[in-house]
């Protein structure tokens, strides 16, 4: 009994202290320590001189990096990055992971006041509406990073053989559509999102060699009519930004954009429908949405299936992909 009580204490303390470790990571990243160490190990005076800061304070921050195993010291007492940092934030790593770190850092002030949001029903700030173009790019790159890493296996699980056209609604950086078009070379893809977001998608497109030139539809799908009919309509990680009521309305509208015998695919990080919720990220992601958007809400697999049926889609089914991927998808046919 005493052992169990001690274990529970440790669990609670670990949870409560978690934000401290995240902030050590954010601070060292924002201070540029990891970048400075890209070229090799450096002593404390060397780092302090380049950064123009007090050696003692810097030493205390670097000590935080040591205990979180982000940094190491070599036999000459010089600081160097650990394997974790080298593999994820080093020069050879995907640079858009930087952007993901920026996103998490940016939403942190809101999530720290979750209690206020729960009581008031109001987000602490409206994250998406206050972004400037540079920040939209940062955010889109963050989404690209996710899509390229853990989300990259959609083309392995979604068979689009025989389909010729695809519309990606709320495409963001366009990564999923590009990945699908790279595998299914016959696909002609159309990417729909706000004009400022599509600028980033065009930047991402340059990394792909596609058979067909993508079409860009600079539209606000919440306010404007969605043109055309397509064999496949993809709605990937989009519904959570608009909430249940708008999601149901959007899916009903999209039914008319799907060709006969075509399909609609909703890819999302579904909240587990059954307790205990063992997939943590979709649940905490929902809390981020509550803290930074007026109506955003993450959704469950079963309710999404019901939304597709309600919109008129047939043979609605779901697929869970790789265990490393927090995305799953729901597909329905017209």
């Amino acid at each position: 009994m005493e052992r169990e009580r001690q274990e529970n204490q440790v669990r609670l303390i670990s949870l409560a202290e978690g934000f401290l470790y995240a902030n050590v990571l954010f601070a060292l990243h924002r201070l540029g320590v990891f970048r400075l160490l890209d070229s090799g190990p450096k002593t404390l005076p060397e780092l302090a001189a380049v950064m123009g800061c007090d050696e003692h304070r810097l030493m205390r921050a670097l000590r935080g990096g040591l205990v979180t195993r982000l940094l190491e010291v070599d036999h000459e007492n010089r600081y160097q990055v650990s394997g974790v940092v080298k593999d994820t934030l080093g020069p050879a790593a995907d640079p858009s992971l930087d952007a993901w770190m920026w996103f998490l850092y940016s939403v942190q002030p809101a999530i720290c006041q979750l209690d206020k949001t729960v009581l008031s029903g109001q987000p602490i700030f409206h994250f998406f509406s206050q972004l400037n173009q540079a920040e939209i790019r940062q955010f889109s790159l963050a989404m690209h990073n996710y899509a390229k890493s853990r989300g990259a296996d959609l083309p392995n699980f979604l068979d689009l053989s025989g389909y010729k056209t695809l519309l990606d609604v709320g495409t963001g950086p366009g990564t999923y559509a590009f990945e699908l078009a790279a595998k299914y070379r016959q696909l002609e893809i159309s990417l729909l999102d706000l004009p400022s977001v599509l600028e980033v998608a065009k930047e991402i497109e340059a990394h792909y060699s596609l058979e067909n030139q993508p079409h860009y539809l600079p539209l606000d799908f919440g306010r404007e009519e969605i043109p055309g009919k397509y064999d496949v309509v993809l709605v990937s990680n989009t519904l959570h930004t608009i909430g249940p009521a708008s999601s149901r309305a959007l899916l009903k509208r999209l039914y008319s954009n799907v060709n006969s015998a075509g399909c609609l695919v909703v890819q999302a990080q579904f909240i587990p429908d059954h307790q205990p919720a063992t997939r943590c990220w979709p649940v905490v992601f929902d809390l981020i949405l509550m803290s930074i958007t007026p109506t955003g809400e993450n959704h469950g697999l079963n309710e999404t299936i019901e939304w597709l049926k309600e919109a008129g889609f047939l043979n609605v089914a779901s697929c869970r992909m790789s265990l490393l991927n927090t995305n799953s998808y729901v597909i329905g046919y017209r």
Partner: protein, 91 residues
């Protein structure tokens, strides 16, 4: 079992015991698992845990786990992982 040998069907008991012991030690200190305990859906093994399991299976049984193997049906239980090891052995 010697790590370099090809895993055969007759090794099932040994392989299952070693996988169970690894999971019991690394992930399930406070829970007793058997060969059919649902490891993923009960939250005993998370995504980082899956990666650690992959490394363990590859190192211990000299199998090559492919990206397409990282699905629920191959990691849902000790029995599922045992089948994966047998199937991948000799690839």
């Amino acid at each position: 079992m010697e790590p370099s040998k090809r895993v055969r069907d007759s090794d099932r008991d040994t392989v299952a015991r070693e996988i169970t012991e690894f999971i019991q030690t690394e992930f399930a200190a406070t829970t007793t698992i058997d060969h059919d305990t649902p490891l993923i859906t009960q939250g005993i093994v998370d995504s980082i845990g899956v990666l650690r399991l992959v490394r363990f299976l590859e190192d211990r049984f000299q199998v090559n786990v492919q990206a397409q193997d990282l699905v629920l049906q191959n990691f849902r239980s000790v029995t599922a992982m045992l089948d994966l090891v047998i199937n991948r052995s000799g690839d």
